[in-house]
Amino acid sequence: MISRRDFLQVSMAASALLGASGFGSWSRLAAQQALTQDQLLQFDTFGNVSLIHVTDIHAQLKPLYFREPSVNLGVGGNKGAVPHVTGADFRKLYGIDDGSPSHYALSSGDFAALAGMYGKVGGMDRVATVINAIRADRPDALLLDGGDTWHGSYTCLKTEGQDMVNVMNALKPDAMTFHWEFTLGSARVQELVEGLPFAALGQNIFDAEWDEPAELFKPYEFYETGGVKVAVIGQAFPYMPIANPGWMFPEYSFGIRDEHMQQMVDEVRAQGAELVVCLSHNGFDVDKKMAGVVKGIDVILTGHTHDALPEPVLVGETILIASGSNGKFVSRVDLDVRDGRMMGFRHKLIPIFADVITPDAEVAALIDEQRAPFEAEMSEVIGQTEGLLYRRGNFNGTWDDLICDALLSERDAQIAMSPGVRWGPSLVPGQDITREDIFNVTSMSYGKAYRSEMTGEFIKVILEDVADNIFNPDPYYQQGGDMVRIGGMGYRIDVSKPQGERISEMTLLATGEPIDPAKSYVVAGWASVNEGTEGPQIWDVVESHISKLGTVPPIDRDSVTVTGT
């Protein structure tokens, strides 16, 4: 169905942006000057249906810096496959020139220098401009939001998601699915979902007591667009009560439920759907496996694992689209649907360069309105950073090193643990650290920083358990996210081994002594999924630490040794 030629016609952001390759700073500057909104939006409208995909915005309304990971290991059948290709290898794979805008937007390496040239990315007012431009080409394009929208910022936490609902409603999505939204608690989720002027979808959101589809969420919705009957099936994050505190939404059960997904696909096809789109928060590898198990899905709009891929990935006759996170990208997918089937596609991952794309004035004003009541407290400068602060990567990031340092010193602990989440923007060297910046990497409804004693043996159990959630060779057993970040302790990990055999050489960094399985250590951490966790909020712990430091020196840790890659 999809020929190699079609694939070649897929226009990559890189070629649209730059044309000829450039070397050295002269060409870099030239590239920067050549970057225009028209080039970013350039797209030869194709076929009869357009999909617009945004996902994992994590409540980032304003432009930001976001460094993509340099370490993102694939295991089993996904070893070395996208999205588990990073840095220079990623650029080589997609033919992206070093120093180009696509290098900066899509891959790691030289981040701070390129950030200085190309500036911030994202901003929902810029995203609005892109969506409006696509709608000018194709008025009935479908806008689909993959979830993780109502979580991740100061204003989102304080308004319990209302700021994001207000702004997203202005963009007029057609459907949405969910993950972190549920950490607002089921009562608040119900209140917000009932007020949405678009479909709230999740074929795998079940009533926990009766093990039947939950009434509040429809499994799918039909749309008529371009004379085509399109079905959009929602797939919420499957491991919500495991990865996040289930006690906050005890009424619901999730899971992948691929057999139910197949039933839904068959059901919508029987009702005349000519195009079946899955709006998913499974994570890329889980979606890739599901695409091979469930027959009849034309397009999977993936989410959760925050991958940004400049080309679709094909599994059989299903195309997978990965649109990044934090408002950094918008995907446009044009499809030719004839005689009840998808005959071809054209795709572009549009990077939202904040200095290049003109903000939509209406949405910009709406964003300012959401922020106004909190502006004074949010903008307070707590300190400065001399180095790059970032989070993404399988094992550590400088933001998490700083958070672990804060836990160790403020909570007087020997070992610190910080969750391996993938949200949280970056700060470039020399930037002020505001209270808002701290909330961007810590805000959540269960942010209390606990302090407890754990034996060396139990710490190993935790590390093995989390490692298996990332490096289990079967994607259906992966929860997404990265390895729990550890402060005060080093270890060695062989990602190719089974659970129980991956972690070794655990060492207490303060003394250089091996961790004794029988001995107890004082451990501080945050984001416990257990009810009744006690301690100060993590953002207060981090703020106190940064204000004492004043200036945060560059952080360069190397306490995790990785093998088996």
Partner: protein, 138 residues
């Protein structure tokens, strides 16, 4: 991460040690299967076992079995100290040969179902259910 002092105490050392490795198949599970099949081959088809890949709560894991035309279905949690979960028997007037229940799993293990078909043949299905301490989702 997610471990409070209370949990640490509740889990205790024994439990913690057990969590590291997927549970071994209990020998009693093989005995149960042999008892049910009389040692017959279990290569038949027509049995569907539905279980979550990762349990949301290891203490109450929803599973279901379906085998149109079966006269009985045996369900085993092969890693539990007592692997027997249930044997569902279907009489000739049964409208369907489906059953659902919730089971308690002591740790990550294979849940196994064996259906005895009307013609005396047997079908087997197996599913690995992971029991995890959770936390840390992206």
């Amino acid at each position: 991460m997610q471990i409070t002092r209370r949990d640490t105490l509740a889990l205790g050392l024994g439990a913690a040690a057990l969590t590291i490795l997927p549970f071994r198949v209990n020998a009693a599970a093989d005995d149960k299967i042999a008892e049910f099949t009389g040692g017959a081959d279990t290569s038949g088809t027509g049995l569907t076992l539905t279980a979550p890949e990762i349990a949301e709560n290891g203490n109450t894991v929803p599973i279901s079995v379906s085998a149109p035309g079966a006269t009985a279905i045996l369900v085993l949690a092969t890693g539990n100290p007592t692997p027997g979960v249930a044997t569902f028997t279907f009489g000739p007037l049964a409208g369907s040969q489906d059953a659902s229940t919730r089971i308690r799993l002591a740790g990550t293990q294979d849940v196994v179902a064996i259906a005895k078909m009307a013609d005396g043949s047997f079908a087997k299905a197996s599913s690995t259910v992971k029991v995890t301490i959770g936390g840390c989702g992206g």
